[in-house]
Amino acid sequence: MTQNKMKYSIALNVKNLHKSFGNKTVHRGVSFELRSGEILGLFGGSGTGKSVILRSIIGLEKPDRGEIIFDDRNIVGLNESQLIQVRTQIGYVFQNGALFDSLSVEENLAYPLKEHTTLNAREIKLRVNQMLDLIDMTGTNALFPNELSGGMQKRAGLARATILDPKIILFDEPTAGLDPVNTKRLLDNIKNLKKSGITGIFVTHDIPSAFEIADRIAILYQGAIYVIDSVENIKQSEDPLVKSFVSDSIH
């Protein structure tokens, strides 16, 4: 354990998370650590609460019990104004991009910069253009979300979530509903971010994409983390559940 601690630092520690919606219990003690500089792929069947974990981390859901330690403090129980500081350091990439309909692409990307930085208009425009270049959307500044394809909306959502250089990025099924070309393009964007050493959690049903992006994989099963291991070990696992899960998902 001490040896491990010397090898890596912990960016986020989720401890014994419990969550129910009415009579339905979603989490029965979810625990895992997210290491600095890694992308953790999070698998699980539909309705197992993968997205709820991400939403809890950023404070959009309140867990019934448990702790989420980030920057040496427990996020669970913080009020909305205390969570603002946390949310500027954790980026959230929504499944459908969740761009603001009434704002152009440029205004969407500039939104976090206007809210949380002291950059002037020229500096904001420069930063937005840099991000648009990075996600292959140069020149789309004036377009509105309804004028973008699904893939472009997701990439713009990715750019907006990362424009403040957050410490952690949460990806909520970013490749869902995308064709292979757009999936590859989005994954390339995430790989570019990965080269810069981002830390993140990648929730998905798209196992091949997760194998391509993630350093480790966690499988959520019956409200808890069933296994968490490196991509190679998960691929070669002899555990019947892991094996069936991975092969079923691929085929």
């Binding site: 939403r55 950023i58 404070g59 959009l60 909305e80 969570l83 603002i84 500081q85 949310r87 500027t88 959230y92 929504f94 499944q95 459908n96 969740a98 761009l99 603001f100 309909d101 939104y111 976090p112 809210e115 949380h116 907006r160 979530a161």
Partner: protein, 278 residues
């Protein structure tokens, strides 16, 4: 103990009673959720209203959407209302030789009741539904979550601008409706009832007090508060995709309209007791 278990057995063995109790329980539960949720929204609004950052630009945008874009609708309705009232009162009172009282009756009716209530109902229909559908769509497409996830407050960015714009726009629209309504009544009185315009204006000024205008506008401040917050609350709590957005919109229009009608009675009662001259 046995009596209690007997009652429980009778209820359980009687599906209609059980269904009725379940339905009533669900309705009570939903009402309590509404009261709790709405009160909590009001508290959050008061809490965040005086905290920076302030989004003046968003308030101005909403003033345009709520105020400026409602002007034509309000003017046409007020003109028609004033004209119809003059006609109705004119022919009704003519039988008793009371045509000369038309300016006084119409002016008081418009300023105290018709202006504020009709304008509020129109705004509830146009703006209440607009806010509920816009905010509801933002909710179901995760844009509200995105506002929070990006470290900003939906109360500040969504609710407060719409509330402030409604509080400013509705009294001004009402004032406009009052004047247009009186103008319509004056025109009809002049053309149809042979009441001279100068006489109409003189009698209107003579019979009105500033309190008549102020109490009418005060009513709309209360109505604006509830229309905008009900619409925002329902929008923020929309569930169930596009169908949910439609349901929220209908709910806001119906609830706001009922609230305006019932609220108008109690506000009028309060003003009669405390403000209006006896």
């Amino acid at each position: 103990m046995s009596l209690r278990s007997d009652k429980a057995r009778i209820i359980q063995s009687n599906p209609p009673i059980l269904a009725f109790l379940r339905r009533t329980g669900a309705q009570v539960n939903s009402f309590l959720k509404f009261v709790g949720g709405f009160s909590s929204l009001c508290l959050s609004v008061f809490h965040e209203l005086f905290e920076s950052p302030f989004y003046l630009k968003l308030v101005i945008e909403q003033l345009r959407a709520i105020g400026v874009q409602s002007t034509l609708l309000v003017c046409v309705t007020a003109l028609a209302t004033g004209s119809v009232m003059a006609l109705q009162f004119g022919y009704g009172l003519a039988k008793f030789g009371g045509t000369l009282y038309i300016p006084k009756i119409v002016a008081l009716s418009i300023l105290r009741e018709m202006g504020p209530v009709f304008t509020s109902l129109l705004v509830a229909g146009r703006i209440g539904s607009g806010i509920a559908s816009e905010v509801g769509s933002m909710k179901v497409t995760q844009q509200i979550d995105a506002i929070r996830a990006l470290g900003t407050s939906p109360i500040k960015r969504i609710v407060i601008p719409r509330l402030l714009a409604s509080l400013i726009a509705l009294p001004i629209l009402t004032l406009l409706a009052d004047y247009i309504g009186l103008f319509g009544a004056m025109m009809v009185s002049s053309k149809e009832l042979a009441i001279n315009s100068e006489y109409f204006i003189a009698k209107t000024i003579e019979s009105l007090e500033i309190l008549d205008i102020l109490t009418g506008m005060a009513k709309t401040v209360v109505f604006a508060f509830f229309i905008s917050l009900l619409a925002c609350w329902k929008g923020l709590n929309t569930e169930g995709g596009t169908q949910g957005v439609g349901n929220s919109t209908t709910w806001v229009v119906v609830t706001s309209s009922i609230f305006i009608m019932i609220g108008d009675y109690f506000l009028t009662k309060i003003f009669i007791i405390t403000v209006y001259p006896h």
